[in-house]
Amino acid sequence: MSAKPKKSAPGSEFMRTLRRDHAGLSRVLRELEVQAARLVQVPEQAAPVLADALSYLLRYHHAFHHPREDRLFARIRAQDKGLDTPLAELSHDHEVGEEQLSDLVDLLNALNDRQLRGKSGQELADRIQEYVRHTRVHMRDEEAVFYARAEGVLDGRDWREVIAADDGRKDPMTDLVEMSSRYPRLAEQLGLPVQQLGLIERASPVSEALREQMLSLIDLYGGLAYDMLDLGRGHIDRLLSVRGPVSLAKAMGEMSSANLKFVGRCLTRPPRWAINSAASVLVASLRPYLRERQR
């Protein structure tokens, strides 16, 4: 690389704009991911937000941000041939990404809620997730390959020309009022302080109670397994400390006593678990009826 430091103020400002664009894009990618995960379950809620998010990406990122980057890539490629291949790949990514995004928009518009709940909806959700993953990697590569180097490679004249060709369009993400007016359903989601990821409708109280009891069964047997390991370790230590027949007899007595205690735990704990489980499942199954009667 032939880079010598040629940092210039206009260049810095231009790069800041590109980085701010990535910040806005990152926020929307997070939302795309959340809504794509909900699409099959609640299409009537997720689809309008996805439509807004995809539209924002098409109308700003593909229409303004990527051409802005492409102009810069072309300048850098002219100055530093070493960056030719990676920058050509990044430019190609822009074209492919735009086509993919247009396809996603068409598909989302073409499917009704019933179709979105089925296989087609799942396929669309998977494609959106893939788009999100790919865009993240692309953004990372851009930052790593050329964002860091652009200011060192281009001189004042290059920057003046790059900036002159720019329309100065700002990311609507920097203005929440504009976001709310143009992409209301997306803006509403972006303002939510808590996101539930992967939360599905809870099953019945009975199956919740059963699940809880299964976990306590795992704890129970996990605990017994640990007890057994501790017991074995203790026996080995005890046997290694034996010095003579009297000591051996004493050790055997202690080990037998410890074994009996362990057997006692093995015999008493599972039935106790079974009684507790049966009681809590019974309570869980009766709760709806009891509530009904109270009303």
Partner: protein, 304 residues
């Protein structure tokens, strides 16, 4: 749906870490068991370089740098482990993955552990690491704090301390299931409702951890640097919490975020369905990859 990889890890966590915590093991035994478990965690990828200089005065620390990549962002990461232990390899790998996702350098601080070095040793070390970054010329706008569990508590405490000392604030903080309330005062909420469902943690060692971390000075437990949820969040940078819906620490994140929002601080909480404590570090689980991707997005948002 929770992936089979995460389900398996949760089951193993339930059978190992949760059982260990229930048994009142000595700290040295816990550390030994963690070292044994750590052998199963992969090393950091080859394209990450690890350096140890410049050093900190009282504890070890590492720089994680993406090979051949230039970036101004730095993630200052504080590992978890109940202030007494740590999963070194797992935390290193976690930070490496965060650095890749956010195109950042990583600073991993192995702050001094209790009971040998009780509070405020860990906080002092974390603060020294932050000061060092500023002294090295890293702009605070390019620094992101991150912390897992006990490290999340320290990251929040560090933010409060930076604010109190009127130093420039970092650009944001990523808090993965922070243990932000050491008082354990809440007799309701997730500490009770998730007591059985939490795959890793339980409350049975809460008193021991408090005693050992505070070196017996339990009256300090209500101090905001010990239980940050009790602090004033004015002037803090954007906060990003990730927590599992079945964790006993679920409320800590939600209460901190509420406190932050009341103080006018941007705070987001992501509640992940049935994820075990520390799932972000399970590099083989798809949910971990998604969580790290979202952390990378957040870092890019606050640190463009």
């Amino acid at each position: 749906m929770v992936s089979w990889q995460t389900r398996t890890a949760a089951l193993l966590g339930r059978l190992t870490i949760r059982q260990s915590l229930k048994r009142g093991l000595k700290v040295s035994e816990m550390r030994g068991r963690i070292r044994a478990m750590e052998r199963f965690f992969p090393a950091v990828p080859d394209d990450i370089e690890i350096e140890t200089t410049p050093e900190l005065s009282c504890c070890d620390a590492e720089w994680l740098t993406l090979a051949s990549r230039q970036t101004e962002r730095v993630i200052l990461h504080l590992p978890g482990g109940a202030f007494m232990t740590r999963f070194v390899r797992a935390e290193r790998l976690l930070l490496a993955r965060m650095c890749k996702a956010a195109n950042a350098r990583g600073r991993l601080v192995f702050y001094r552990l209790a009971p040998e070095h009780p509070y405020p040793a860990g906080l002092d070390d974390s603060f020294e690491a932050y000061r060092q970054l500023l002294d090295l010329g890293v702009s605070p706008e390019h620094i992101i704090l991150s912390g897992m569990s006990a490290g999340g508590c320290l990251a929040l405490a560090l933010l409060l301390k930076i604010r109190d000392l009127e130093l420039p604030m970092p650009a944001g903080a990523v808090l993965m299931s922070p243990a932000a309330d050491l008082t354990d005062a809440s007799e309701s909420g997730s500490r009770v409702s998730n007591a059985a469902a939490d795959a890793v943690l339980n409350m049975e060692r809460g008193d021991d951890i408090r005693q050992l971390y505070l070196g017996g000075a339990v009256e300090l437990v209500s101090h905001p640097y010990v239980s940050p949820v009790l602090g004033d969040f004015h002037g803090l940078p954007p906060l990003f919490f990730q927590v599992g819906s079945t964790e006993i620490l679920l409320d800590d994140s939600q209460r901190c975020a509420e406190q932050a929002r009341l103080a006018g601080v941007r705070a987001e909480v992501e509640v992940w369905d049935r994820m075990p404590h520390g799932w972000q570090a399970l590099s083989f689980a798809p949910e971990s990859g998604r969580a790290i991707g979202r952390i990378g997005d957040f870092i890019r948002e606050c640190c463009p």
